[in-house]
């Protein structure tokens, strides 16, 4: 059977992209394979691990649980869109460097997007709120302690520290 292809216009990190994909193309695969934005990582592919988390209109969303055809009309932000306009690291990225918030780095893009949105909503999280912010993302290396520290450090950087 020849699979029907759909013309899809995606807005990712402020740029418009036109792709032609089957309806079953997961948004995570469209970002990686069709757009070449391989910063978004694919772990479990059923919404549990959080590695593929992107921002849809600013809200963290699992890109493996959306179809590319369904992502029209939305502003998408991937980890590639988190750097500052001058190319330097964004606040959350910088905090991960300073706090040693990653080891193998596979889960990191999902944490960075999730925390970026979380700090926009709550710029001064308590320790408990920082833990809660990352509760939906799995990391098998760090034991999470340094990621929690990175959330708190990113909040400091965001506040001008």
């Amino acid at each position: 059977m020849t699979e029907e292809l759909h013309d899809v216009r995606l807005t990712v990190n402020g740029s418009a992209y036109e792709i032609r994909v089957p309806a079953r193309r997961l948004l995570s695969d469209a970002l990686r394979h069709d757009l070449g934005l391989t910063g978004t990582h694919v772990g479990c592919e059923h919404g549990v691990c959080g590695a593929c988390t992107i921002l849809v209109d600013g809200s963290p969303t699992r890109s493996c649980l959306m179809f590319a055809v369904s992502a029209v009309d939305h502003e998408i932000t991937t980890v590639e869109g988190l750097a500052n306009p001058d190319g330097s690291l964004g606040a959350v990225q910088q905090a991960f460097v300073e706090c040693h918030g990653l080891q193998c780095g596979f889960c990191t893009p999902g944490f960075l997007t999730t925390i970026t949105a979380g700090l926009r909503e709550n710029p001064t999280p308590t320790h408990e709120e920082a833990r809660d912010m990352i509760a939906g993302n799995l990391c098998r290396c760090t034991g999470y302690q340094n990621i929690v520290k990175a959330v708190e450090r990113a909040a400091e950087i965001g506040a001008g520290g």
């Binding site: 029907e4 309806a23 079953r24 592919e45 059923h46 963290p60 959306m66 055809v69």
Partner: protein, 274 residues
């Protein structure tokens, strides 16, 4: 882990969406997709067509009506959870929603979608059952209202016909003097509950709804039972099952513990509102 091919429709009106469903018996509605897409990716489901309702106007509303609050089919869990109206009119909805998966899933998943997915391990079907709410569906013959006690017919099975689309859910308001509470035990924060319980108390009337205990959300009337015996009384109406997550005996023990806890908490809530 890739879905099988399917035809895709993204209608602009509800009438077109209903017509698309009517023309393909093996079609599924796609709203938030947070339960459906994993089923497709694992190929536990392979519908011939998906009818994506995300482009339909006017379905993302949350509105206070006489006697309760109505949630549209495209209202995301996160929006319902954040709604002060919902929290004021029927706080049990907010209490339960905070236990639905993780915030990231709640950003995309819809409350109405969770209801008609009819998972007995999910929070919102139990809440709708306990409160005696309903779901409105639109089909070729027009609109009809399905009361909660006729909605959930089996595991992942609702009484919504294949050519009908759930357009909204109605949660009755909490009566003056009544109280509600929600408790669940999960291995990890955000996981499906091993057992969960929602309570509604109003004077001497006590009812508790259970999730992850039976094949369908189950509500038990515990009015007149001494509070310490309520868990045992509830178990006479429940059949806790064993699966890879918990033994039947462990689930029964959780029912005993959670029943007392959730009923006490609901009475505290009622007292706090008085």
């Amino acid at each position: 882990m890739k879905p099988a091919p399917f035809d895709y429709r993204r209608p602009g009106t509800l009438a077109e969406a209903v017509a698309a469903l009517a023309g393909e018996p093996n079609a599924k509605v796609l709203a938030g997709g947070q339960s459906l897409v994993p089923l497709l990716s694992m190929r536990l489901a392979a519908p011939a067509m998906l009818v994506d309702i995300n482009g339909l106007p006017g379905l993302d509303t949350i509105s206070v009506e006489e006697g309760g609050v109505r949630v549209g089919a495209l209202a995301r869990h996160a929006a319902v959870l954040a709604s002060p109206d919902v929290r004021r009119v029927q706080p049990l909805v907010s209490l339960a929603l905070a236990n639905v998966a993780h915030a990231t899933i709640r950003n995309r998943g819809t409350t109405v979608g969770s209801l008609v997915h009819a998972d007995a391990a999910a929070e919102m079907p139990v809440v709708l059952s306990l409160l005696g709410g309903s779901v409105d569906v639109e089909g070729p013959a027009g609109r009809r209202t399905i009361p909660a006690d006729e909605l959930f017919v089996g595991p992942l099975e609702s009484s919504v016909h294949h050519d009908e689309i759930a357009v909204s859910a109605f949660f009755p308001a909490l009566a003056d003097g009544a109280g509600v509470a929600f408790e669940e035990i999960a291995r990890r924060h955000g996981d499906y509950a091993l057992v969960g319980a929602a309570a509604l108390v109003d004077g001497d009337e006590v009812s508790v709804g259970y999730l992850s205990v039976s094949d369908v959300p189950t509500v038990v009337d515990l009015s007149g039972v001494p509070i310490d015996e309520m868990g045992e009384a509830a178990l006479e109406r429940l059949e806790p099952a064993e699966d890879i997550h918990a033994t039947a005996a462990y689930r029964a023990q959780l029912v005993r513990v959670l029943t007392t806890r959730v009923v006490r908490s609901a009475y505290d809530h009622a007292e706090g509102r008085a």
